[in-house]
């Protein structure tokens, strides 16, 4: 096979095709049609209290084929990482290997019930225990709870631990420092625990300096919440010095691990001074992500903070595993049972199938982002021109003169068959376009994406109206987002 350059072989991936219109389930079917049969009752008939009797649920009347076509058609309207590159910055939309699904579907896992006695749940308990050990190995933080069900839930648990720790020192504190390059949910998590969030502007290079932190840190400040790499995709080079400043005044460091995909097996979080860190298993550890599905945001802490972790905890005695609730300083339960077990099985499968290559995944994620950054910085303004981590942030500054904004370019990218990147975030960058390719994409796909972005930059100069009217290829064109937000229609 001859090697041709990507320029000559490049074709837009997005094209139009036959897409079916599909009404709601309740708008189709016919009285009496049914796609299932209910087994004969094997219990004695017994009259119901009339107060408990009412109209049955309003089920649609559909055959099996009606239902199969309905959901197949809806799935054809959809876009996922299984269709094409999904460079949504800060979300780590990496491919979710199918082996994870296979393990989670094993009857012993899929059918296990959280109320089964410990003696019948040894396999599930061992999986939880081992996953904690693996995540401890990846982060460098020894004590872990798998309970939190999302990244923000992990943050909340982390802030509860901050509060419990300071209370145990006999001096509750009331403020938390939050840099403007931190994740947007951080201030909300702090506020829910009664902390006042103190915003902290990042320095000229887009990262924190110990001097700036020192200026705001005081004896009433519980600590700082740092997203590292931060939301500009930059590594906080001064993290150790910042941690020293915070620790010297009795504060703690919270690490928002949402961007952990850049540094797995590379940065030991304990060594750089992080006391509490959450992981997003649905980002970094390839469990399904988005669409409102269940997530997992385990919290990892130092040995000193272990007493404050949620209960119950999985403990190992000899060769058996059991639950333990006897931790008087614990922040308590933060989720029913022990988190979203099915998600944890998938993460466990990912860690075991990757093994030492987890580090390689991070290295490739960083390489891919830098490849995109270098390939596009000529045509898109790059506010911080330095080596980035797993994501890079451009702006629409060069396109503004043609009255083309970030939103128009994001919409146009859909016509080329790619999911748009994150736009207008981080807030510190005006007109931000935040691209995170992840390690999943090969060079051919990256080149197609780069070619599409370059074509869009050219269109912004030559045919700006193409962008204002985008997208044209998807089933629906430009949606009225304002009307949708002002007058949402919640039916179905």
């Amino acid at each position: 096979m001859s090697h041709t350059s990507s320029e000559t072989t490049w074709m837009p991936t997005g094209t139009t095709g036959l897409i079916f219109n599909e009404p709601l389930l309740w708008e189709q079917g016919a009285e009496g049609r049914c796609g299932m049969s209910v087994p004969e009752s094997d219990v004695l008939m017994s009259p119901l209290d009339s107060e408990l009797v009412g109209d049955g649920p309003d089920w649609p009347n559909l055959s099996e084929l009606d239902v199969v076509r309905h959901f197949t058609r809806l799935s054809q309207w959809n876009f996922g990482v299984d269709s094409n590159m999904y460079p949504l910055g800060s979300c780590t939309m990496k491919y979710n290997p199918k082996i994870n699904e296979r393990q989670a579907a094993l009857p012993g896992f899929a059918g296990s019930h959280p109320l089964l006695p410990e003696s019948l749940s040894q396999g599930a308990l061992k999986l939880l225990y081992d996953l904690e050990r693996y995540l401890a190995e990846v982060t460098g933080l020894p004590a872990i709870s798998l309970q939190p069900a999302a990244g923000s839930h992990g943050e909340l648990t982390g802030m509860l631990i901050f509060a419990a720790y300071h209370k145990a020192q006999g001096k509750p504190r009331h403020k938390v420092l939050i840099p403007d390059t931190a994740h947007g949910t951080n201030p909300a998590s702090a506020a829910l625990c009664g902390f006042k969030s103190i915003p902290l502007a990042s320095g000229e290079d887009g990262i924190l300096t110990p001097e700036m932190v020192d200026e705001l840190m005081d004896e009433d400040t519980a600590g700082i919440m740092i997203t590292n790499p931060n939301t500009l995709g930059l590594f906080e080079n001064n993290i150790k010095e910042v941690a020293e400043v915070i620790h010297a005044k009795g504060g703690l460091i919270y690490g928002d691990g949402a961007n952990m995909n850049a540094v797995m097996g590379i940065v030991n979080m304990a060594d750089v001074g992080v006391d509490v860190l959450h992981l997003n298993l649905h980002k970094t550890f390839s469990t399904p992500h988005g669409g409102g599905g269940p997530g997992a945001g385990p919290v990892c802490v130092t040995e000193a903070l272990r007493p404050f972790l949620p209960v119950p905890r999985v403990v190992k005695e000899g060769d058996t595993y059991r639950w333990d609730e006897d931790y008087p300083q614990s922040v308590g339960k933060v989720h029913a049972f022990y988190g979203n077990f099915g998600v944890l099985v998938r993460a466990y499968s990912y860690v075991l199938s990757m093994g030492p290559f987890l580090k390689k995944a991070s290295q490739l994620a960083v390489l891919n982002a830098n490849y995109i950054k270098e390939s596009l910085k000529e045509v898109f303004h790059l506010p911080f021109d330095r080596v980035c981590m797993h994501e890079c942030v451009f702006t629409d500054k060069y396109q503004e003169q043609h009255k083309v904004a970030t939103l128009d370019m994001a919409k146009r990218l859909m016509d080329y068959g790619f999911h748009p990147p994150t736009v207008y975030f981080p807030l510190v960058v005006h007109g931000a376009i935040m691209i995170e390719p992840t390690e999943s994409e090969n060079k051919e796909t990256l080149d197609r994406f780069i070619a599409a972005m370059r074509a869009i930059a050219e269109e912004a100069r030559e045919h700006p109206d193409l962008l204002h009217q985008a997208p044209r290829n998807p089933k629906l064109g430009r949606l009225d987002e304002t009307l949708a937000a002002r007058k949402p229609c919640l039916c179905g």
């Binding site: 503004e400 009255k403 904004a405 939103l407 736009v423 207008y424 975030f425 807030l427 987002e481 304002t482 937000a485 002002r486």
Partner: protein
């Protein structure tokens, strides 16, 4: 997005670095956000305002505006007590876009310290800061 020379910046209001404006009538000031602010935010879909009777210091956060792009905080240009809020914005937040100095006003406050009003930017100073 408007060019700076396309912005509507009335002479009879004063401005802040955070792009709020304040207009004086006796000891009551009407407060909103500037044409520049609404233009940068894009279509506004929700305005969160404080309750009448609450008091704020100059620079304190008194509410937020949500556009299709982001949520932004609102900061008090002046200290004082809220005497009236623009309840119409609850159902018609688009007035902040269409008439930022008219129907898009947000709160009226009884000013605590008149010197704070004098210290705000006039049109030319605000324009200079935007051109900055």
């Amino acid at each position: 997005m408007k060019e700076i020379n396309e912005l509507n910046l009335p002479e009879d209001v004063k401005y802040t670095d955070d792009h709020e404006w304040a207009k004086l009538d006796g000891d009551v000031a009407t407060i909103g956000i500037s044409d520049y602010a609404q233009d940068q935010l894009g279509d506004i879909v929700f305005v969160e305002l404080p309750e009448t009777g609450s008091t704020f210091d100059k620079g304190e956060e008194f509410g937020s505006v949500e556009s299709v792009k982001a949520v932004s905080e609102l900061y008090m240009p002046l200290g004082g007590e809220i005497v009236e809020i623009n309840a119409e914005l609850e159902d018609a937040p688009e007035q902040v876009n269409s008439a930022p100095y008219g129907g898009g006003w947000m709160v009226k406050i009884k000013i605590a310290d008149m010197a704070e009003f004098e210290a705000l930017m006039d049109k030319s100073a605000y324009l200079a800061s935007l051109e900055g």
